[in-house]
Amino acid sequence: MSRIHVSTTINGDDVDYLCEAGDTLLDVLRDQLDLTGSKEGCASGDCGACTVRLDGRLVCACLVLGAEAEGRSVETIEGMAEGEELHPLQRNFINKAALQCGICTPGILVAAKDLLERNPDPTEEEVRYWLAGNLCRCTGYDKIIRTVLETAAEMRGAA
């Protein structure tokens, strides 16, 4: 099968890859680039475990073709920490027990970071609706929602 050559930017680095026409961005990230932090829970856009940012917009990587990343910029969970320095959401997810099994965590962190960049002071309801596309089966969401709200307060300097 002939393959498509793609030049893109992932977490700030230039990356080239070859993919089949039917490969999703999630397939490419996971199977070719070994960026397995983005998870596949459904491959149909229903669980959010594969959430990444494409040119600054949240997308399900399972609903984007690998070929569509040409010339664009992809941000994944692997790029969230600045070197050794965790993002406050990452730090607080650990300290406030906002994960149990952790399979939903990368997608939720990417989505929550995007929320706080757009809206530094969200209400509980806004957080709940923003994250409604990210399924978590372990936590009942309580500690996740609290941690996002508390991190927002901390980042605003209010806590």
Partner: protein, 748 residues
């Protein structure tokens, strides 16, 4: 052994909220789950699945698939030439690769390994299966009728009376006293029937594994599982190899809830690897997860309770009919045992039925069998409380089981925490908060056995005084942190000084699956005992250096010291100091402990929920939710709370939305997260967890398992809340908007 038993103490580490050791990997995407592993030269494996609910497989032609470029192996049942000795393992083999018949929509009939995903998927299409479609049955009551299509001949146990279909595999009975005499004393008798739909565990991580079989007869397997020893034992039996030749490593696990206590892909991947001579990776798509793994039983239950005017139960009876999918499981028996377990009853009789249908083989789901039974029993109790004008918590307190109660399933309880959860619920502001129009409040209790089982732990004192702890149970929600905490507590050292890892099957002895809420209890117990073992050795080393008897040394705050003035005058010797000199005092120091842990300590919880029902649409909104549960001792309170919250929300999904929907043709109609809808963040309020601590007499720190009980009360709690809000009793789950609306309309 007296030492095993609970002793009250001041904790330093246990009960704190420390960061978990695997946290960094999990927030940065570094953690490796089932599908995140690769091997050089790896092939991609996929299953071909039956599109029919019930069909005889006349022939399978794999020649076209085998001839395709890049296809390295095709397997069917014909490749599995070994017949496992026990029926349970034979059922598992029949489930992972269909034999003479496909028994459900999604049943694997063949599998392919190829050099790429796209080639493998194309090869599946090239396999020709000649099916003879047979009549099917998916409903439990239908399957019990003598005229129902039969799945298996000759598997019915002697416990089943005449007149039932061969689909009824077993009947079990529990109870004591004389129910007829009890009903004769009742002022009020209520008899109701209930139905619950099958639901899926819904873990976000689909099943995945990477198998490598060499032609030297040795194998390696990486997989997401709740028990890699179970995987090793099951797969080696199916492959006809000695257990010691198969090494299984548990990946990080993305949720299980009971659904990963068996195997699905693993034996198939091993066979594909054996046949191709290459490592084979297999992952399930979500659709396959729903069609062919899990789910739980669907049920049909009759409950009859007699009560005096002042709310004393005089007799209780239950008939629990569970369909377990296409093979035997004991969910009906578990339901029959659990339903009335919260109550002190003079006269009780329950019957459990195990029925097979053309659905995937049921897997455990968090307190398997219990939530549906509690739904039925607690609904009737709520209805009777309403009818008699009694407070539902008071009524439960009046009948609540306590220490010394002979349980409905037989044993007599030691110290238990049911009354404590009810008292806490009664005193909580939630119970007395005002309600608005169309709102209703429900309360219900739940019970789960908890379990101990085979457990091994090794605890190494490293030369620099750090401690490495090896345990054999996958960490599904923070158990590595809990083990490090208990080791640190017992050794008297900081939490950060201990690192806990999950050993592979070749590194540590047999460990029971992560199930039955057993890990914090049983692995914790073994950890404490392994630490005590290491302490004994360290005391002996100090004694040797001091030239005194080992009995004259005691262990205090992480150091050996002479026990009393007569033992001699030596400054305390810390764990670190003993570790650094270990090489000169006899060699490396390690403690270990192996046990079949008993004394798990039964668990109870009480939940309160407020709901609002939209009378126009039948939609239900959960407004407020509070969980009260006895944890014995909460080792890491954050993760105990997480278990209570997660269990409650799974129960909310089961009560309100989740449902396996089968079409006329017996195929699953909603095999995706869009149509099989689990609760999302915007559906829910905060879930308020209240932890009670009534020490378990069978654990040194008083720990009880907490993982499962949280899912037992919510079905009933929600049903009671919705019934009170809607003014009509809901008896069928899920309480989806059309059902609630129909019930409201029917009452007029």
């Amino acid at each position: 052994m007296a030492k095993d038993e609970f002793q009250s103490r001041q904790f330093k580490v246990v009960g704190t909220r420390v960061p978990r050791p695997d946290g960094l990997d999990k927030v940065t995407g570094r953690a490796r789950y089932g599908a995140d592993m690769t091997a050089p030269g790896m092939l991609f494996g996929f299953c071909l699945r039956s599109p029919h609910a019930h069909a005889r497989i006349r022939a399978i032609d794999t020649s076209a698939a085998e001839a395709m470029k890049g296809v390295k192996a095709v397997v069917t049942r014909a490749d599995f030439t070994v017949t496992p000795q026990d029926q349970g393992t034979r059922d598992i083999l029949d489930n992972v690769m269909a034999g003479a018949k496909a028994l459900y929509d999604g049943h694997t009939v063949a599998a392919v390994a190829a050099t790429s995903r796209s080639v493998a998927l194309a090869a599946l299409k090239a396999i020709k299966v000649d099916y003879e479609v047979l009549p099917h049955v998916t409903d439990v009551d239908e399957a019990m009728k003598p005229e129902a299509p039969v799945l298996h001949e000759g598997r019915q146990q002697e416990s089943v009376p005449e007149g039932y279909s061969q689909n009824v595999l077993a009947r079990s009975q529990y109870g004591h006293g004389d129910v007829e005499a009890g009903f004769a004393k009742a002022d009020l008798i209520v008899e109701r029937s209930f139905k619950t739909a099958a639901t899926h565990q819904g873990y976000i991580e689909p099943h995945a594994c990477l198998a490598s079989m060499g032609n030297d007869g040795q194998g390696d397997l990486w997989c997401c599982t709740q028990g890699h020893y179970m995987v090793r034992n099951t797969c080696s039996a199916i492959m006809g190899m000695e257990a010691g030749r198969l090494k299984v490593t548990a990946s990080e696990i993305g949720g299980g809830f009971g659904g990963k206590t068996t195997v699905f892909l693993e034996p198939v991947a091993l066979m594909l690897s054996k046949k191709s001579g290459k490592p084979v990776k297999m992952t399930m798509a979500r659709e396959e997860v729903l069609r062919a793994s899990g789910p739980t039983a669907s049920t049909s239950i009759d409950i009859k309770i007699g009560m005096t005017k002042d709310g004393k139960i005089t007799a209780a009876q239950g008939d629990f009919r569970y369909q377990n999918g296409c093979f035997y499981a004991m969910n009906g028996a578990l339901g029959a045992m659990c339903g009335f377990a919260p109550y002190h009853l003079e006269n009780v009789e329950t019957v459990g039925w195990e029925v097979v249908t053309n659905r995937p083989k049921a897997a455990a789901y968090r307190a398997p069998g219990a939530p549906m039974a509690a739904f039925a029993v607690e609904s009737v109790i709520d209805e009777m409380a309403k009818e008699l004008g009694l407070d539902p918590i008071e009524l439960r307190l009046k009948n609540a089981a306590d220490e010394g109660t002979k349980s409905a399933y037989g044993p007599t309880y030691p110290a238990i925490g049911l009354k404590a959860t009810l008292e806490a619920a009664k005193a909580h502001p939630h119970w007395s908060a005002p309600l608005g129009p169309n709102q209703g409040r429900g309360v219900a209790c739940g019970f789960w056995f908890n379990f101990g089982g085979d457990t091994c732990v090794s605890l190494m004192i490293n030369p620099d005084g750090t401690v490495s702890l090896s345990e054999g149970n996958p960490d599904i929600g923070g158990s590595r942190a809990s083990m490090s905490m208990m080791a640190a507590e017992e050794l008297g050292i900081p939490y950060e000084q201990v690192r806990t890892v999950i050993a592979d099957t070749a590194t540590l002895g047999q460990n029971e699956v992560t199930d039955g809420s057993r890990v914090t209890f049983a692995v914790g117990l073994a950890t404490i005992k392994a630490a005590r073992h290491a302490i004994e050795i360290m005391k002996a080393r100090a004694a040797q250096l001091w030239g005194i008897a080992p009995e004259a040394v005691e262990w205090v705050d992480g150091a050996a010291q002479p026990a009393g003035p007569n033992a001699g005058k030596f400054p305390p010797m810390t764990l670190k100091e003993i570790a650094e000199t270990a090489s000169n005092t006899g060699g490396p120091i390690a403690g270990h402990f192996e046990v079949n842990a008993e004394g798990a300590g039964v668990s109870f919880g009480t939940h309160i929920a407020d709901t609002e029902v939209d009378p126009e649409t039948g939609a239900v909104k959960v407004l407020r939710y509070t969980v009260f549960q006895d944890a014995g001792k909460a080792v890491h309170p954050d993760y105990v709370e997480g278990q209570l919250q997660g269990g409650a929300v799974q129960g909310i999904g089961w009560a309100l939305n989740e449902e396996y929907i089968y079409g006329e043709d017996g195929t699953l109609q909603n095999a995706g997260y869009l149509d099989y809808r689990i609760p999302v963040a915007s559906d829910l309020p905060m879930i308020d967890p209240v932890i009670l601590e009534i020490p378990n007499p069978g654990h040194p720190y008083g720990v009880r398992g907490v993982g499962e009980t949280g899912i037992v009360p919510p079905l009933a709690t929600l049903a009671n809340a919705v019934s009170r809000a809607a003014g009509v009793r809901l008896t069928s789950l899920p309480m989806s908007p059309p059902k609630v609306l129909a019930a409201i309309k029917a009452k007029g």
